[in-house]
Symmetry: none
DNA sequence: CCAGGTAGTGAACATTTGTTCACTGTCTGA
DNA sequence: TCAGACAGTGAACAAATGTTCACTACCTGG
């Protein structure tokens, strides 16, 4: 998917950015169409869908639920740019994992450590299955991703609990392997679909 | 007009700030009341009116039209405050360790992770002496300190080279111990004074 | 004891809001 | 010439949304 945008899309994106900067909340579909003297919400909808597809905004089906990709609001992405990434506590059932209710803290991560147009969050490791490289209490930076590469460290949901393991795919099954030999592999077959939350891209450990 | 706010107002304001930071747009009145398990939009309305009167937010009579006073969004000093900490490369002889010449990069660290009135820097680990908990390529956050406690992980200069070890003091000598049993202890006596750069307070690992 | 402030309930209402459907027009490249 | 992309129109719908009203309960200071 090309990230080129049309002239009209660019105009609409600029209007979004300006409006959020000036008054602190996004315009509605109808405010956008009024601004451009359009008579139809469908046309605006189409443009917003395209901008979302191309990664410039994120939308929810709620009033003014347009989130502009942070780099666009703050200017050029750069080395010194920092994003406050949520550290999730107990993950409440039924909510999106990064729902506000799940966030217990926030840590600064350099933007170039984060995937482009990827959502990331931090989780605290509980078990010793990846010891000693990854220890209880460590924070892992997780980039949301539904799939993984061989050998990558991933976060999966098993029995409604997030677990950190190394991912191996063999023919018709997936193996979630611990680095700690004291722990057995978890074998996932198609009869119980695997739910990957994402892949681990960094680790942060605090020594008290 | 007092700017003191009540406990409930403070909770609601924090929720607003968190929500805007997390998902880029404000909650609706009903989302706020759902979050706090309230059954009435009027109660929320009352709090928002108070917060507006006291200058913490601005509102329009439109969906999610809550603008948080910019200073509040840009972070309270303390928890959300971030400092760019230098990552040191080759340490040039004769220069203070954190001299500009030694800095190869900077990473954001939350201020409450840093000692009060202490200088900190990041170093990249080279050897495997602390494996597996600390691996080559890992970054350690070092707080400048000339002394250490028993068992702490420290950075010492030995033969003009920074090394990461665990610190033990015995009677008249200091032992710098590796976590990796493949490495022998380094015994430091008074005939070659130990130079501690600091103690390790955090670790950051990036998985490619 | 009472007034005032704080916090909330329950309900109703009008307006806003996003989505969807079916359509038209223009432009461009094959 | 035609298909596809882009840009828009007009309409309808259901849900979301903010405001307002009248009320209750509790707490605290005068």
């Amino acid at each position: 998917m090309t990230r080129e945008i049309t002239a009209r899309q660019d105009e609409i994106l600029s209007f979004l950015i300006d409006t959020v900067r000036e008054r602190g909340y996004a315009p509605s579909i109808r405010e956008i169409s009024a601004h451009f003297n359009l008579n139809s919400t469908q046309g605006v909808q189409r443009h917003l869908e395209a901008l979302e597809k191309k990664g410039f905004i994120r939308r929810d089906s709620k009033a003014r639920a347009i989130q502009i990709t942070p780099q666009l609001l703050e200017g050029q992405p750069g080395q010194d740019e920092v994003q406050m990434i949520p550290l999730l506590g107990e993950v409440a059932a039924g909510l999106p994992i990064t729902a506000v209710e799940n966030v217990e803290d926030r840590l600064p991560i350099r933007s170039d450590w984060l995937g482009v147009n990827k959502e990331s969050f931090l989780l605290r490791v509980r078990g010793r299955s990846m010891a000693e490289a990854i220890q209880p209490g460590d924070l892992v930076l997780v980039e949301k991703h539904p799939t993984a590469q061989q050998g990558e460290i991933v976060v999966a949901l098993i029995d409604d609990e997030a677990t950190v393991k190394r991912f191996w795919r063999e023919k018709e099954r997936v193996i979630l392997r611990s680095d700690n030999p004291d722990f057995a592999d978890i074998v996932v077959t198609e009869s119980q679909p695997l739910q990957l939350l994402g892949r681990v891209t960094a680790l942060i450990r605090k020594y008290l």
